[in-house]
């Protein structure tokens, strides 16, 4: 018994609720005996990981569900020891670069080489190869991605890679060209409500439509989040009726506060106050890019159409700077100050910068 996200997760390709065509294709790929490297990409909570696990099960049978966690020690070039917990089964191994930090190249190289150079010993195994899943492949550093290139080709006999990424834009072209790209789109509202009702039915209670609509609209296509919200609401208020306030992660609420602060006053003092809030978010380990994106989304909800364009433009501009630079707070604050300036110019003078000039 566990969280609904896990409990009602489809285990096989047949159980998947949506993207039937994709499921059929994955099934035939698994059956073909000529399984390629695959890059799954799509928005968060669309079901990439679920599909990956289903595909693995299709390839190897229920044995892949028997997960174990291994503690591995890697030695970096600077002789530092890294302890990494690796989730693996007999048939596959999972890597998450964010667990490793900046030394992902070392880990990737070590693990891939190890897997690639050992043959499958289990004679009953359905496939000769093992699978390496790389979560958040777009968070891989460039070095690590480059380390993947040749290994992917060289050790094709013993290993297949399944990459899982938010978007393909941060994955270098050589890797993209070596993979079969599979896009997993976010479920539509109907599909989501179908899933929610399915869960409700399994849990033997009735999900009123207003509640399901509220959940779906708040989770914006992220089914995983929708299910968590659903469960939270059910726990908080078992009857799911009446005045519903949808459970929302606290940091999102807080980002909304930052957006409000930006719009309420544009001054250096306010900037100082907002900086405190930004630090608060960062110290809660919320990734700075997520912070920036969320603030920008909240802002866009609240301003006039003309300013929206500007806000989106500057968000993109400062997100790039932030990725290039190293001190996140500088760029977050620069972003906030810029938005303040744009907004102030607009409200006081009705003046807009011409963003094409930049």
């Amino acid at each position: 018994m566990s969280l609904w996200v896990d409990k009602y997760r489809p285990r096989t390709l047949d159980e998947l609720h949506y993207h039937d065509q994709l499921s059929a294709r994955l099934r035939s790929l698994a059956a073909s005996g000529d399984f390629p490297h695959i890059l799954f990409y799509g928005p968060s909570g669309a079901g990439k990981k679920t599909r990956i696990m289903c595909t693995l099960r299709e390839l190897y049978g229920p044995g892949v569900e028997k997960l174990r966690i291994d503690q591995r020690v890697f030695v970096t070039p600077s002789n530092r020891k890294l302890d990494v917990n690796v989730v693996q089964s007999n048939y596959h191994i999972e890597l998450t670069p964010s667990d490793v930090g900046m030394y992902d190249r070392v880990v990737i190289q070590d693990i891939l080489k190890e897997i690639a150079q050992t043959q499958q010993v289990d004679l009953n195994a359905k496939q000769r190869f093992k699978v390496v899943i790389i979560n958040e492949a777009d968070a891989l550093t460039r070095d690590a991605q480059a380390a993947l290139r040749r290994t992917m080709e060289k050790y094709m006999n013993n290993m297949r890679l399944i990459l899982c990424a938010g978007s393909t834009s941060k994955i270098i072209a050589p890797i993209r060209s070596r993979c079969l790209l599979v896009r997993v789109a976010a479920p539509t509202d109907d599909e989501m409500s179908k899933v929610l009702h399915h869960v409700a039915k399994k849990e033997r209670f009735h999900l009123p439509d207003p509640a399901s609509d509220a959940i779906i609209s708040s989770s914006s296509g992220n089914l995983r989040k929708a299910l968590l919200v659903f469960e939270a609401m059910k726990m908080q208020r078992p009857d799911l009726s009446g005045d519903l306030d949808v459970a929302k992660p606290d940091w999102e609420t807080y980002c909304g506060k930052v957006a409000d602060a930006i719009l309420s006053e544009q001054s250096a003092q306010k900037l100082l106050e907002i900086r405190g809030k930004l630090y608060e978010l960062l110290s809660h380990c919320i990734p700075p890019t997520v912070v920036m994106k969320t603030i920008s989304e909240r802002l866009v909800e609240k301003v006039d159409d003309e300013v929206k364009k500007q806000i989106v433009h500057w968000t993109a501009y400062y997100e790039l700077r932030m990725r290039v630079g190293s001190k996140k707070i500088f760029h977050l604050e620069a972003f906030v100050a810029k938005i303040m300036m744009v907004y102030k110019n607009y409200t006081l003078m009705g003046m807009m910068d011409d963003i094409d000039m930049f």
């Binding site: 566990s2 969280l3 469960e231 250096a268 630090y279 110290s283």
Partner: protein, 832 residues
């Protein structure tokens, strides 16, 4: 050059230059032969030439390209190698070949060359000319080498002869001779230089090539040898032509003259060399010359001096076993610190202050004043923990011995902030152990020898990291700049004594410029004195040597960037032009060096200042400069592109143009800490996430990477596990509440969450969630509104239920999936 080479035969294989120089010359019968003088000349130049050859050899380093130089002199054929002399002048005298191995064997001369072609006459003028020439060429070389005034080995009776350069070297070039004689095998077959059988020396280099050259013996031996040669030849005198004998006589005479002249020249040269050395040694640095010798000479704040002295006097009871009557009563009243050895409470004195104020001088003078012998340990000494044990301990424990002239030792540790190195074996750690009387070997129970002597430490930066552990044990005395009037007065006295004209205005300016650094003032004055006898403001301004490159503190740079210099002070200060600030600020920033902290301080401070522009436009520009700085420093730090480091200061200068305002001086820039605090909190929180991940089942781990774990799972999970339960006994709860409780238990166990009872800050018992992921729903210390306050009783209820469930199914757990529990730590369900 009038040369008289009758036959000079040589060849060499490597150097075309030398080949040219050594090319056989057509015999010039008419030119006068200057036997002695030329010989001096030629030997010198042969010498030079050999050096050249050897250098050549060394340079090419090819063992096979050996060379052979053979020179044959027929009759009185003198070889003058002035060509070599000229080429030699280009040679670097400092480079002396040292490692050439020569096996020199004496070669019997080829008999063919007779001496019948000896030229008849020679002219005095020519000889003098040659002499001058020799002198000049000698002047190019080291004066020492001129000792070897060659005796002309080419006597009339010589058939042919080679001059041994090896021998020559052994006289003239000490350095050379060591090298050559140590490895050479001399086989002098015949010492009779003037004998009929004259030998050429054949030398063999390490590479196996053969050099043969004419031989010459030492001048001291010469006369004897010459006479013996005469005496041995006396029976043959009659058989010799008269003109040969006459020539011989003349030769001897001129040789004497040459020797004399050479000696005279040597003396002159030695004098010339010696004079400047003596001149420089007699003047000492003014800093040393005018260093205070007594306590009353000291310049500066008397209170500081007295403070230091009184601390040292506090040791008297311990060291000299005499009561410090004057201070005793007051001390007892002040602090009732009773040391069994009557030592003061702070066993170390820490003098701190900027350089050049006389800290070291003060320490030495006061230690002497108080009757101690000083032992100074400064940055030039090895400073490690072992130094403390060896040098300092020995000095302190030596007591009053002969070496200390009956006085106890006071250790002065200069520049202690430079004693780097952390860890247990650092110098400062060792010092602290010594102060605290920690025994050297921990195992043994022998009590440590307590510290019985004072230690004075001197540092520039009191807050250096290395000093942090020492500060609590030390009495800190901060040095301040001496009153500038006093300093100016002292400087004027010095100037008067050194006969340097300087008026008060100029000296005041100098003192201001050096910010009271006496050492720097004196050095500047001495520098000016070396050029002129008047100190002018211009001279001070231009003598940038007086300005030391002192490191600028962060605070100074922050102020410089935020507060513009008032026009008045700008005019007063030296070297700052109106309106130009970039170079000045870049210098400041560069000398500060700690760009990261600097920017952090600027960044944290600027919103507190009044912006110059209400539209925030200059803030935007400022932020793009920060972005630029960040990009630069990222490149430098992460990609090691240190070429870019030079531009970093420039990326910080715009802070001045965008933020600097005179009003800013009301608010001092604070030490940046927000970023570090945030970082620390983040690290703690990351640790919490890691501990949660460790207990999470594998499938959840793979479903939720860290990012989604933080952004989605934890905030919502916290809502899931805090249902609105009533705090009632588990037996009487309603059915639906029981279902909720059960569900909660089933959720929490696999996730590894549990509640633990703890005492809160105010002593109240509270239930703490473990791992404490509830920090992630607390922003600014407040909990989100939609989560009900989880009451103690409810949490207790849940905790009991969880524990109960774990007792019932300790291994397999409520879930069928064993995998969940394979990593379940044992002590989780232990009752507390």
């Amino acid at each position: 050059m009038s040369t008289s080479i009758q036959s000079s035969q040589s060849y060499m294989t490597t150097s075309s230059l030398l080949l040219d120089a050594l090319a056989p010359r057509p015999p010039d019968q008419n030119s006068p032969t200057v036997l002695v003088d030329k010989d001096i000349n030629s030997t010198m130049e042969i010498d030079a030439e050999f050096e050249m050859l050897e250098q050549e050899d060394r340079m090419t380093k090819s063992s096979r390209t050996g060379f052979e130089v053979s020179k044959r002199f027929s009759g009185a054929g003198t070889m003058s190698l002035n060509q070599f002399g000229q080429t030699h002048e280009d040679q670097d005298e400092g480079e002396r070949p040292t490692g050439t191995n020569m096996a020199i064997s004496v070669d019997s001369p080829p008999p063919g060359d007779a001496f019948d072609e000896e030229p008849e006459g020679w002219e005095e003028e020519a000889s003098m000319e040659e002499m001058e020439r020799a002198k000049r060429s000698l002047a190019m070389q080291k004066p020492v080498s001129s000792v070897n005034t060659g005796v002309n080995p080419k006597s009339s009776s010589s058939s042919s002869r080679s001059m041994s350069s090896g021998k020559h070297h052994s006289v003239g070039r000490p350095a050379m001779s060591v090298a050559s004689t140590s490895t050479s095998e001399f086989q002098p077959l015949d010492d009779g230089i003037f004998g009929p059988s004259l030998q050429g020396l054949r030398a063999e280099t390490a590479s196996g090539s053969v050099i043969s050259f004419k031989r010459r013996s030492k001048p001291a031996v010469k006369s004897v040898a010459g006479e013996s040669g005469h005496s041995s030849d006396i029976s043959h005198l009659l058989g010799q032509p008269l003109h040969h004998l006459l020539a011989e006589v003349q030769e001897l005479k001129s040789r004497e003259r040459a020797l004399k002249m050479q000696k005279q020249y040597d003396d002159e040269a030695r004098l010339n060399v010696a004079t400047p050395v003596a001149g420089s040694s007699c003047t000492s640095m003014w800093v040393d010359k005018y260093r205070p010798k007594r306590f009353s000479d000291l310049l500066g704040d008397d209170r500081i001096h007295r403070e230091v002295l009184s601390w040292l006097k506090e040791w008297d009871r311990c060291v000299f076993r005499r009561a410090n009557t004057v201070r005793k009563r007051r001390m007892d009243e002040e602090n009732a610190y009773n040391d069994p050895l009557d030592r003061p409470k702070d066993r170390v004195l820490l003098l701190s202050g900027p350089p050049g104020l006389g800290k070291t001088t003060l320490a030495h003078i006061i230690a002497r004043q108080a009757g101690y012998k000083t032992l100074e340990i400064n940055a030039s000494d090895d400073r490690s923990a072992s130094t403390v044990n060896t040098r300092i301990k020995n000095a302190i424990e030596a007591g009053t011995g002969l070496a200390s002239e009956g006085r106890p030792t006071c250790v002065i540790i200069d520049e202690i902030d430079g004693a780097g190195g952390g860890g247990d074996h650092s110098f400062v750690k060792g010092l602290i152990k010594l102060i605290q009387d920690v025994p050297a070997r921990r195992k043994t129970n022998t009590p440590a020898k307590p510290l019985r002597r004072p230690i004075i430490c001197i540092c520039n930066d009191l807050y250096a990291n290395t000093l942090r552990p020492l500060r609590p044990f030390a009495r800190v005395v901060r040095f301040r700049q001496a009153q500038s009037q006093l300093l100016v007065k002292r400087l004027r006295d010095v100037c008067a004594q050194e006969k340097l004209e300087a008026d008060l205005r100029v000296l005041t300016m100098l003192v201001e410029m050096t910010t009271g650094d006496v050492r720097s003032c004196l050095n500047t004055l001495q520098f000016i004195k070396s050029k002129s006898s008047v100190v002018t403001p211009e001279a001070i301004k231009t003598s940038s040597v007086g300005l030391k490159d002192s490191g600028t503190t962060l605070q100074t740079v922050w102020n410089n960037l935020f507060i513009p210099i008032a026009a008045k002070t700008r005019r007063k200060q030296i070297g700052i032009d109106d309106g130009k600030y970039v170079n000045r600020l870049v210098d400041d920033i560069f000398s500060c060096g700690d760009y990261d902290k600097l920017v952090q301080g600027l960044f944290e401070h600027y919103p507190k200042l009044k912006p110059l522009d209400a539209s925030l436009a200059n803030l935007g520009k400022l932020h793009s400069w920060i972005g630029y700085y960040d990009a630069l420093s990222g490149r430098v730090n992460e990609r090691m592109e240190f070429e870019l480091a030079g531009y970093i200061p420039y990326s910080l200068v715009p802070w001045y143009s965008h933020m600097a305002a005179p009003a800013n001086n009301t608010k001092a820039t604070e030490w940046p800490k927000a970023d570090y605090e945030s970082y620390q909190t983040r690290v703690v929180n990351e640790e919490i996430v890691t501990s949660l991940k460790k207990t999470m089942p594998g499938i959840l781990r793979s479903l939720f990477p860290t990012t989604t774990l933080l952004t989605e799972l934890i905030p919502l999970l916290m809502r899931i596990i805090t249902p609105p339960l009533r705090p009632v006994n588990a037996i009487i709860v309603k059915a639906d509440e029981k279902a909720t409780l059960n569900r909660l238990v089933e959720l929490m166990i696999p996730l590894g969450l549990s509640f633990w009872q703890e005492k809160g800050e105010n002593g109240q018992p509270m239930m703490r969630l473990e791992p404490p992921i509830d920090v992630f729903i607390h922003y600014e210390g407040k909990r989100a509104d939609d989560i009900a306050a989880s009451r103690f009783a409810v949490r207790q209820l849940i905790a009991q239920a969880v524990r109960l469930r774990c007792l019932i199914e300790p291994i397999h757990g409520p879930s069928a999936d064993k995998g969940y529990f394979s990593f379940w730590p044992d002590d989780r369900w232990r009752l507390n």
